[in-house]
Every structure is written in structure tokens, then in C-alpha cells.
């Protein structure tokens, strides 16, 4: 089969030589300045294209990748019967797999993965991004990997590692590697859930007016700079101390610390390993939400699956109001990852580490680059905790506004220049006195991080470096590393939904600890890329659909509406259900958004569930 690339086809259409093509140039020089014969020209292009395809084929054959989709699909099998929803990727799917890959998916989610693979095969394994299943298999080929390369039901293609991939590397093995691609660019991106003692009825009547007031006052455009004044010295300390810095400075409550993963502080953090450029990016962004899929949501409890577990978390009734913050380490984390990738490429050549994918840049854990990255990553992780704590502080709005519903003032946390006007707007709406809202942190999880943990592997206790990219730690009950309050129920896992869809709180299980290094899914996971969303979806349709569900949008960028539309994501409920059936975590609470704030580079989206749907439900 001969494929034309578009540039050549265009050149043929125009009957011109294509200066970038060596064959054409050769022919052109041979035939002088005379206009080339059409046939000759076409022949030249053909031969060139065939030549390049031959070359590509040779390369792919050497990698063993010259397979049709049906051949590829044979490598993906269902897991044993006692493991529902488990799919196995056999060795040989990509060259050099040291362990088998596995992923959790029901039929529908599996179909999404297989469609992706088919598309890739149809492209002759050419161009575009690698499908997630290929990425899982590539990770299985990294040196030092233990047991499996595991993917969660929300898996989708990412940089190097698929998002939703968990991989553990043996710390005792000198060959073992650490890869920034396995952590992701948004280091310690995570979710924090705050509970309140408010009820939905307290907020329902005013939510429209709040939205309107905000709509009138919030300038369109994001606050890219925080309102918490930070000096370089503060930043340095925050990078080393994590949430302890926030507590010391009074931005966080002492009780917050125990309800954070790792107690909100990575002890190996070294701020000197964070480049000046990264620090410069992080300095003004402290306490800001960030762009993309980050958001802050006011939610109400829709369903409680596990009553006693929910009670332990301080959530005891349906319609209780919670606040969810999804954010990460902003530009600082991104820069740390970028810096490390550059250094690791050199380290790979030096240590002769071979990977299937160039994006899987990595370095030996004990090498200088590896250690440096782990220290810098820990510092960036600390920054993310400080960031989330700062936003919690702004959401709590302690002593700043005397208002029962002052938590709604968190809308103002994105650093609005004309904050005073907004505060006045709030004061007009709420005239009640201040009241304790009991805004405690339920838990704070991170879903982009690599951590040293101890796990039982084949009956042996091993020290592992567990990479979790787009996957959340979910430790079982009685694990020493989870807070004392959750010892009986297991670690709470916070799963953020998408625009207008539910979010979930799960708890960790023993089975998850055995099968997935104590990990579970992290959210809905994209079903199509941002580009594809923009191309295939019409924002008017999306808006209409949302309207039908009772969600009205106040301010929106068409671009972001399409990118973040529910259609662009996998169904969070089925993702969570797969994890629940597979037994790697347990459903506990379902939350439904009342209002969502999303920030893109240029726009703020404010979503609002029309009170009508809720009123109906209550009736």
C-alpha cells in the first residue's frame, strides 16, 4: 500500500517540484530547468514515498510492531475470572517488556482503549500520540519494574506514561529508574475535600443571586497571581516545609496536617534542587487554582454508600455541603519536570538505558539526576500542598468576613483585583452573623507523584518507588501511613468529576493493596484529546445538553466548554464502578456540584446547577 503524505500530494496537484524532497531535487537537477514531465514527477514522489515507507517498515519490523489491529488485539486478554474487569497485556505487545501490563476496564471503557489502538494501527502506527495500551506496555519495559505495569479505568494517553498508570520500581535494584513522565508535569496535582456544617437548603435560595453578583463583578480573565504576599525566602521555606509552612504562618489549621497524604510534607524535599526559573514561575502563583481541568466546586452530598465510613469523615447526611479543590503545583512543578527531562536524556545516553519511547526519559534512582529529580519533585509536591492550603485559607475566609455563608466568598479566591466590590456584593446578599462552619479538611490526596513505599511482593516485603500518574493512593484499613481517624475505614480517596458530573469519595481496600500497590483511579479521564473535542463537538450542543440537565453557564469560553464537556471525558460513574467491582477501592460517598468554578488561561467558567432540578428532587 502506498500512502501519500499531504505535502507531496499538494506538490503533485500543483505540478511543481517539492524542494524538501531529495528525489525531486535530484530529478530537477538532472532535467535542468525544463518543466518536468508529470509522470516523471509522480514517479519521483512515489519512489520517494515508497522509500520512506520501506524505511519506516524496516524500523517498525525491528521493533516487532508491524502488526495489524487484529494481531495486536490478540495480545490483550481478559484477566482470570476471580478478577472482574481486569485486562492483561501480554509480553511481546511491544518489544522488551519485562513484566506484563494490566488495566482495569469494563466493556465500554475497554472499547475506548481498543478504538484508540485501532486508529493507531490504521495509521500504520505512524504519527499522532501513542495509544494508552501501548504506553502501558512501554512502561512495562523499563528497567527495575516490579510485578506489573498497571493502569486504572480512567487511563488515557499522556506524556510517556499513560495518565492513570501505576508502576513500581525496586529500590534495591541498582538498575531501577525514576521517570518524570511517570509523575507528570503537574507534580502533586491533587484533590482536597472540605466539609461544612451547612445544608443544601441554606445555599439553594441564594445561589442564583450569588452567581449573578459574581457574574457582574468578576472581570473576565484569570488571576494569574496570588493575593498571598510571598517573598523568595517564603517560597524557599514553603518548598522545604510543605504544609508545615502554612501552619506556621497561620494559613492552615493544625488539624489539616493529619488529614493530608504524607502529612502534607515530603521530608526529602530540597529547595536548592529547584531551578531559579522554576522558583520564579512559582513565586507569584502561590494560592492560585491554575488552568485546564483544575477547579473548585461547591458540592452537596447526593448519596452515601457506606454510612459508617462517611460518618468517620464527618459527612453524616445527604445534602450536606462540601467544597472540593482540585489543583497542583502550577508552573513550578511544570518547570521542575521540564528541567529533569533535559538532564535525564543525557543520563540515559551515559548509563545506556534503552526505552521504547523517547518520552520515557528516565534516570537510575541512585544516579545524581535521579536523586536530584526526587528531591526537586518533593519540593514541588510541598509547594502544591501549600497551594491547596492557601486556597483553603481563602475559602475559609477566617475572620475576614462576618457572614454565615462566608465560604461562598471563596469565589473571590482567584485573586480578584476588585475584591472590595465583590465583598460588598456578598455583604449585600448575606446579612446574617458569623457562625462556625466547621470547615475541616476531610482528606487531601495527590494523584501525580512518586513515593518510596513498602509493599508485599510475592510474599516478600520490598521497598519500592511507586510512580502514580493520574492515579490515587488508596491504602487499606489499619495501614500505618493513613490518619488515625481513618484506620478502621481505610484511606479516603477523592475522585473529581467533570463539568457538572458527580464526584466520589472512595476508601482503600486490602485487595487494592495487593493488586495495584494500593492505588485506584483519579477521575473521569479524558475520552478524547482536547484537539479532538474542539474539532468534533459544537459548544452550542454542549450548552444545550447541560441546560437540559439543569445546569446553566454564566460565563464561558466556547473553547473550554468543548474541551471540558462531559462528552470529552469518560463517564466518572462507570470508572468508579469498575474500581468498586474490581475491589481495588470501595464506594463511600457521591457528591454533586452546585456551582463550579473553572479557570482557563483566558476565561473563568462559572457553572450553576439550576435550583429547579434540585427542588424537583426534594419534592
Amino acid at each position: 500500500m502506498v500512502m501519500f503524505d499531504t505535502v507531496h500530494l499538494k506538490a503533485i496537484d500543483k505540478r511543481e517540484t517539492f524542494s524538501g524532497c531529495i528525489c525531486c531535487q535530484l530529478l530537477f537537477s538532472l532535467s535542468g530547468k525544463r518543466k518536468l514531465n508529470e509522470a516523471l514527477l509522480t514517479f519521483a514522489h512515489f519512489s520517494h514515498i515508497e522509500h520512506s515507507i520501506k524505511k519506516k517498515k524496516q524500523r517498525t519490523m525491528s521493533l516487532g510492531q508491524n502488526r495489524s489491529f487484529s494481531e495486536e488485539a490478540r495480545y490483550i486478554k481478559n484477566g482470570p475470572k476471580e478478577f472482574p474487569n481486569l485486562k492483561i497485556i501480554d509480553k511481546g505487545f511491544v518489544p522488551g517488556m519485562r513484566v506484563v501490563g494490566k488495566f482495569y476496564a469494563d466493556d465500554q471503557l475497554e472499547k475506548l482503549c481498543m478504538d484508540e489502538l485501532q486508529e493507531f494501527s490504521n495509521r500504520n502506527q505512524f504519527g499522532g500520540f501513542l495509544p494508552a495500551v501501548k504506553q502501558i506496555a512501554n512502561v512495562a519495559g523499563l528497567p527495575g519494574i516490579v510485578k506489573h505495569s498497571i493502569a486504572m479505568p480512567d487511563v488515557h494517553a499522556g506524556y510517556g506514561f499513560a495518565i492513570g498508570n501505576v508502576a513500581a520500581f525496586d529500590m534495591e535494584n541498582p538498575e531501577s529508574v525514576v521517570s518524570p513522565g511517570g509523575v507528570g508535569f503537574d507534580i502533586n496535582c491533587g484533590v482536597r475535600l472540605l466539609r461544612t456544617n451547612l445544608d443544601y437548603k441554606d445555599v439553594r435560595d441564594i445561589q442564583e443571586s450569588v452567581a449573578q453578583a459574581l457574574f457582574n463583578h468578576i472581570p473576565v480573565g484569570v488571576g494569574s497571581k496570588g493575593i498571598i504576599p510571598t517573598t523568595p525566602k517564603d517560597l524557599h521555606q514553603a518548598l522545604e516545609m510543605g504544609i508545615d509552612w502554612s501552619i506556621r504562618q497561620g494559613y492552615a489549621w493544625a488539624e489539616d496536617k493529619e488529614h493530608c497524604e504524607e502529612y502534607g510534607r515530603m521530608l526529602n524535599a530540597d529547595a536548592t534542587k529547584v531551578s531559579q526559573r522554576a522558583q520564579k514561575r512559582g513565586l507569584p502563583q502561590m494560592g492560585t487554582l491554575g488552568a485546564g481541568n483544575h477547579y473548585m466546586e461547591v458540592q452537596r452530598v447526593e448519596k452515601i454508600f457506606d454510612k459508617s465510613a462517611a460518618k468517620k469523615m464527618g459527612i453524616d447526611r445527604v445534602n450536606q455541603i462540601c467544597v472540593m479543590i482540585h489543583s497542583g503545583s502550577r508552573g513550578l512543578g511544570h518547570q521542575v519536570a521540564t528541567d529533569a527531562l533535559v538532564k535525564m536524556e543525557k543520563a540515559m545516553a551515559r548509563d545506556k538505558i534503552h526505552t521504547n519511547d523517547k518520552q520515557l526519559a528516565c534516570a537510575r534512582i541512585n544516579s545524581e539526576e535521579g536523586k536530584e529529580y526526587l528531591d526537586a519533585m518533593a519540593a514541588a509536591a510541598n509547594y502544591a500542598w501549600v497551594n491547596r492550603s492557601s486556597m483553603t485559607f481563602l475559602a475559609r475566609f477566617e475572620k475576614k468576613i462576618k457572614d454565615k455563608k462566608r465560604f461562598l466568598c471563596m469565589y473571590t479566591y482567584f485573586l480578584i483585583r476588585k475584591q472590595n466590590i465583590i465583598l460588598q456584593a456578598f455583604q449585600k446578599i448575606f446579612k446574617q452573623d458569623a457562625d462556625d462552619l466547621d470547615m475541616h479538611v476531610v482528606y487531601d490526596v495527590s494523584h501525580n507523584i512518586a513515593k518510596v513505599e513498602q509493599h508485599m511482593v510475592d510474599g516478600k516485603l520490598m521497598k519500592l518507588l511507586v510512580h502514580r500518574k493520574g492515579s490515587t493512593r488508596a491504602f487499606p484499613p489499619h495501614h500505618p501511613l493513613i490518619p488515625v481517624d481513618y484506620q478502621v475505614i481505610g484511606q479516603p480517596v477523592l475522585i473529581g468529576g467533570t463539568m457538572g458530573t458527580s464526584s466520589f469519595v472512595l476508601t482503600g481496600t486490602e485487595k487494592g493493596m495487593r493488586d495495584t500497590f494500593g492505588s485506584t483511579c483519579h477521575g473521569a479521564g479524558r475520552a478524547m484529546s482536547r484537539n479532538k473535542s474542539r474539532k468534533t463537538l459544537d459548544y452550542k450542543d454542549v450548552l444545550n445538553d447541560l441546560k437540559k440537565q439543569g445546569i446553566s453557564i454564566r460565563v464561558a469560553s466556547p473553547k473550554l466548554v468543548m474541551e471540558e464537556a462531559p462528552e470529552s471525558y469518560k463517564d466518572v460513574t462507570s470508572v468508579v464502578d469498575v474500581c468498586h467491582t474490581a475491589g481495588i477501592s470501595k464506594k463511600c460517598i457521591q457528591l454533586k456540584p452546585i456551582a463550579v468554578i473553572k479557570v482557563d488561561n483566558l476565561f473563568i467558567i462559572l457553572l450553576l446547577l439550576a435550583s429547579s432540578s434540585a427542588t424537583k428532587m426534594e419534592k
Partner: protein, 286 residues
């Protein structure tokens, strides 16, 4: 928070009689202290030579003090002359107070040094004072008459706690601990709140209510009512029940420790906390 006098600890250590009320801005207090320090601790002058320093009413007292400080090799001197009467000039007062702070602090350190060298051996042998041990009730001789046994049995049945088969002392101790734990004002208050909650949520009663402890009679019940507390089985139900109890005790211990940490952090926050926001800094758009 009120300002703590920086000298309180040193004064207390030197056993100065009026250490609680010492005020650096009060000239009489300072003079009395200086004289006391020289007389009892530093003892630089002979008894006769102390005369001028003792004359606190004299106008030359300041000069006298400066001479004294010079002889002691102190780096500090009283620069401003006695102008404490001039109360209008607040700044001058402040400067003078600071001057006195340095001098008194230095003198106290010197006095502590003298005190230490005087009682060096004695002090070096001192060990931290042990806290008073909690009163141990004499339970050994509580006897094992039939009457006593029956009474204890009734009490145990009433309190729903097991009775030691042979040693009544152990039973008594257990009862004591139990009563202390469950019938202190805090527990009673908590229980009242719990009952109130219970009444409020009566309609939503489910199978996993927390009333089990009342009905727990044997180790089998423990396993039945708290399956979430154990994720394995040793094959021996008794051991399993013990595991559950140990785990529960462990959780209580860690919770208490965690509370103490939080309390300490909260206390320290009083000193370090200084959250700031500056809305001007927030930048919207590009």
C-alpha cells in the same frame, strides 16, 4: 497575649522574693534589685564598700552604679542621667528602659554565674524533679470474703465489665479505671450529646448503629459486631477478639497523641501565625 517580662525566669531561678512583680520601668524596683544582687549573689564589694550603692535616694547613685559596672567589666553603662521624672518625653523613657533592660539582664546573668560557681557541685548532682506519682489506692488488702465477692460481682454486672476469677485487687483496679474513664464530666457530656444525636436520628436507624458496646457480652460478639476491625483470622476467635481490642486501644492512643500534637501546633501558632493577604497583588488577566 500579654508581654512576659524577660527576667522572670532568671529572677525565679535566683529565688528573688518579688520576681513576679518586677517592673523594669520602675526605678525603685531596679534599685532594690541591684542592691539585692550585690548583697546576696555577686558580692563584689566588701560589706562597708557597699554603702554608696545602698543609698538609693542619693543623686549620685547613677554614677555609683556606673563605677560598679565598670569594676565588674560590664559592657553596658547607664548613659542617660536620671530623668525618670520627665515623664512627658516618652521616647527618652523608652530608650532608658532599653538601657536598663541590657544592664539588668547582664547583671542577672552575672549573678547566675556567681550562683552557679558557688554551688557548682551541688547543682551538677541535681536530677530533674520527678513528678508526683499518682496516688495508688491500697487494694491489696481488700480481702476475698463471700460478702465482698458478691458485692463485686454485682458491681461488675452493673457496670458490664468482666470480673477477675481469683484476684479481687485486679477487679477493683479495673472498676476504678472504668469509673474514672466513663464517669468523668467530659465523658458524661459526650454521652449526653451522643444520646441527643441518637434521638434526632432515630428514624434513620440502620443495622450498623453504634449501640453494640452495650450489648457486647462475649468475645464472639466483639468479632460479630466489629468485623471491620479485623481483616484476617488467626483461626482462634479469642485471639481475634484480642486483636480487635488491641487495635481499638491503639487507635485511642494514637488519637490522643495526635490531639497533643495538634494542641502544641495550635499553641505555637499563637506566636508564629501571621497570615496576610494583599488583594492588590492579585492579578487578573495578562
Amino acid at each position: 497575649m500579654s508581654r512576659i517580662s524577660p527576667f522572670r525566669r532568671k529572677l525565679a531561678a535566683l529565688k528573688y522574693a518579688d520576681w513576679k512583680n518586677f517592673d523594669i520601668s520602675n526605678r525603685q524596683h531596679i534599685q532594690a534589685l541591684v542592691v539585692w544582687l550585690e548583697q546576696t549573689k555577686i558580692r563584689h564589694y566588701s560589706v562597708e564598700a557597699r554603702g554608696p550603692l545602698k543609698k538609693t535616694e542619693s543623686a549620685k547613685w547613677d554614677e555609683c552604679l556606673n563605677d560598679y559596672l565598670e569594676e565588674l567589666d560590664s559592657p553596658y553603662r547607664l548613659k542617660s542621667t536620671s530623668s525618670s521624672t520627665n515623664k512627658e518625653d516618652k521616647e527618652q523613657m523608652k530608650a532608658q528602659e532599653l538601657e536598663w533592660t541590657y544592664i539588668i539582664d547582664w547583671m542577672l546573668s552575672e549573678a547566675i554565674l556567681c550562683e552557679y560557681s558557688d554551688h557548682k557541685d551541688e547543682l551538677n548532682e541535681r536530677k530533674p524533679i520527678r513528678r508526683k506519682e499518682k496516688t495508688v489506692y491500697e487494694l491489696e488488702n481488700c480481702g476475698s470474703t463471700k460478702e465482698m465477692n458478691n458485692a463485686l460481682k454485682d458491681l461488675c454486672a452493673f457496670l458490664r465489665i468482666p470480673m477477675h476469677p481469683t484476684d479481687n485487687a485486679v477487679t477493683c483496679q479495673t472498676i476504678l479505671t472504668f469509673i474514672k474513664d466513663k464517669f468523668n464530666p467530659m465523658s458524661i457530656k459526650n454521652y449526653e450529646e451522643y444520646i441527643k444525636d441518637k434521638v434526632n436520628t432515630q428514624h434513620s436507624k440502620t443495622s450498623n448503629d453504634d449501640d453494640h458496646w452495650v450489648r457486647t457480652q462475649s468475645y464472639k460478639d466483639i468479632i460479630r459486631f466489629y468485623p471491620e476491625m479485623i481483616n484476617f483470622s488467626t483461626g482462634d476467635e479469642m485471639v481475634d477478639a484480642a486483636t480487635i481490642i488491641l487495635r481499638a486501644l491503639y487507635i485511642v492512643d494514637v488519637r490522643n497523641a495526635q490531639n497533643q500534637f495538634s494542641e502544641i501546633l495550635n499553641f505555637l501558632q499563637k506566636f508564629t501565625s501571621d497570615p496576610k493577604t494583599n488583594a492588590e497583588k492579585g492579578k487578573v488577566g495578562w
